[in-house]
Symmetry: C2
Subunit: 394 residues, 2 copies
């Protein structure tokens, strides 16, 4: 079993928001005030818990708890939804004897329905009572919606003053799937951090992990990544080398969780590891990677194990990235398939089709122009995705 960073307790109960026979309400509790950082959805429609969480973080970055429910997103619920969210924090604060401003809320589930308050009233005392009696996996299970497995990751790293631990959990099966609204991740550490540095470090790690994946190109009203640094290890960063090591551990936890989200993509059978090099700059590299990773035609070809380089090349061509088509080189699964404006001279189906039966597929593209780079993980697109998303509410 994974060990949590020092100073944190978890709880999970079966409240009954939407799912039967599984926990759907989770609590992260920090025994001392923890330095909190958060990255929130950029969607113009922001769910009530996102609005309340931002407000709380704006007032203070010292937090004691994170409260997460699955099944109801509390998004597009108007002023009533905001009041519902605040009232759940008031209730929890009373049971934990802390202030409601020391709690960050998060919700995931169906958009547009009001929270069932009697369910909260009944469940919160049980949730607090069960604190500490829950494994990391049970906690990760309580925040799932269409996920097919719970997602957790942990790293330990040695700093000058001693060892510190990072642990995280995430939900998401679709980079975003708005009405299961959608990607949530929580990272804990017993490292001691000051406020601005911790927010910077989280933002940097999110950029390289959760913001570098795509399932369907959609983003939701409820997305957030919250990170708590409780400091119970007594270890803080003493040098830039310490900060690099701490960042690396944090980034690895985030990337591990991000990979698990793509692996669990709704209906997905494959993970494309798209690496763009040789772009004019990193923005162009990002454009090229996203055009390929979001192309329905590239995704369906991957699902069919079809070495259909023409679709990748056409997606690059419309990406808006600047390059000379004659200088582009494309490799699939480590083998060059397209260069100098033409496919390589071999029996492409015979050579490549067997390589594409793997779950993880490298897609390496050199644009032959400059030094810009970007890395993106993307799922394929399958009939099961269609089934899940056209049947969802029935």
């Amino acid at each position: 079993m994974q060990e949590l960073p020092l100073g944190f307790d978890l709880a999970a109960v079966q409240a009954g928001f939407r799912y039967k026979d599984r926990p759907d309400l989770a609590l992260i509790f920090s025994r001392t005030p923890a330095r909190a950082a958060g990255v929130f959805t950029t969607n113009a429609f922001q769910a009530a818990p996102v609005q309340v969480g931002r407000e709380n973080l704006d007032r203070s970055d010292l937090m004691r708890a994170v409260l997460v429910n699955a099944g109801q997103a509390n998004a597009c619920t108007g002023d009533e939804g905001l009041a519902d969210c605040r009232s759940t924090l008031d209730m929890l604060a009373g049971h934990l004897d802390i202030s409601p401003g020391e709690i960050l809320p998060a919700s995931t589930g169906v958009i547009g329905m009001r929270m069932p308050m009697p369910v909260w009233e009944k469940s919160l005392p049980q949730l607090v009572k069960s604190l500490g009696g829950c494994t990391p996996e049970q906690s990760a299970m309580a925040i799932m919606t269409t996920d097919s497995f719970p997602k957790t990751a942990s790293r330990e790293t040695g700093l000058d003053q001693g060892r510190v631990r990072f642990w995280g959990m995430a939900k998401g099966a679709g980079m975003i799937c708005p009405d299961m609204a959608t990607m949530l991740a929580f990272v804990l550490t017993d490292l001691q951090m000051d406020g601005p540095r911790w927010q910077e470090m989280l933002a940097g790690a999110v950029e390289q992990s959760f913001n570098a994946i795509t399932v369907d190109g959609d983003t939701s009203t409820n997305d957030c990544v919250l990170a708590l640094a409780g400091g119970e290890s007594g270890v803080s960063c003493q040098s830039s080398r310490d900060r690099d090591r701490a960042f690396q551990a944090l980034e690895e936890v985030c990337s591990d969780l991000a990979y698990q989200i793509v692996k669990d993509a709704e209906g997905g059978t494959k993970v494309m590891h798209i690496r763009i090099t040789g772009a004019a700059d990193s923005l162009d590299a990002c454009r090229a990677a996203r055009a390929v990773g979001n192309s329905s035609l590239v995704k369906t070809a991957m699902f069919g194990c079809d070495p259909n380089w023409g679709r990748i090349v056409a997606a690059l061509g419309r990406s808006g990235a600047g390059f000379d088509p004659e200088k582009v080189r494309l490799s699939l699964a480590g083998q060059e398939i397209f260069a100098r404006g033409k496919p390589v001279d071999m029996d492409i189906d015979e050579v490549f089709a067997p390589l594409l039966t793997a779950r993880d597929i490298r897609v390496d593209i050199d644009l032959g122009t400059g030094e810009g780079e970007y890395f993106l993980m993307a799922s394929d697109l399958t009939d099961e995705y269609i089934r899940i998303n056209s049947d969802y509410r029935s």
Copy 2:
């Protein structure tokens, strides 16, 4: 049967590039030099016929013929592909006794394979011999790839000097589907037009028709819209009112063909007619419409006849368009479903699900901000799309 504009003849033969038992090579011939206009793909990878067609148009806008084949795209074929394309024009020019520079080529089909020159050598004499012995529908059939029906449209309009006729044909089933590369359209008229005006008029009509549809958000290496104004009616535009009427007829032919492409979207069962109003400007309106029309989650919900307004709202929220979420109003099939940040107070499934069983669905969105407007037609996303695109090359 549709009547062609005066002065044009069509031909179609079964050459055998890829398809069996159907015509796959078409010729449009203008008995006199016709004023030509063209709009080409913006993809960085441009197919050989696109490159050759642009070159010819740059040298002169008077054309005698358009030559189109289906099954081979002649894209990503390097210098050899360019030479192949030029040599087909040389051959045809010989048979027609015109100059190769008076012919516009277009190809659609698989990317990356060389043209089979013996097939061209054998077919071109037959093609020229059969000129005039072909219905508009047979000609439209010869340019199909995954299309399930031939697409033609025609309009007549009265100008001050007399009546003129517009006729067009198109192929495409998937706004773009790069390896069936992809959307082609050809419009003929017997109106007399001078060069710059005709190009402007075509560009304007394309903007409101072929550029305002989406199946999967992809664009191809071979797309083009070519228009020939032969002038055989003896009628030219005498006034701005004439130009408006001619533009309207041209735009209606283009929009009719564009609608047919979305209706024939690979695996599609529905056409969403997305109208954005109240945007800050037309660019924002376009962003909002495309975010909704390209969202896999909106498209799969439409396929499932699911009034899942949350997905539409979430797509608007990430579109980049500026608006106040509280002011957004959304109607589905003519009925308001979301306003003032919340869903309308009615049994949404009971009211809306039956309305969504129609083939054509209106999606009206007012952003409540300014005067910007945009209209987009989009297909749904179905398991059949996945089947077609994951099985394609097998």
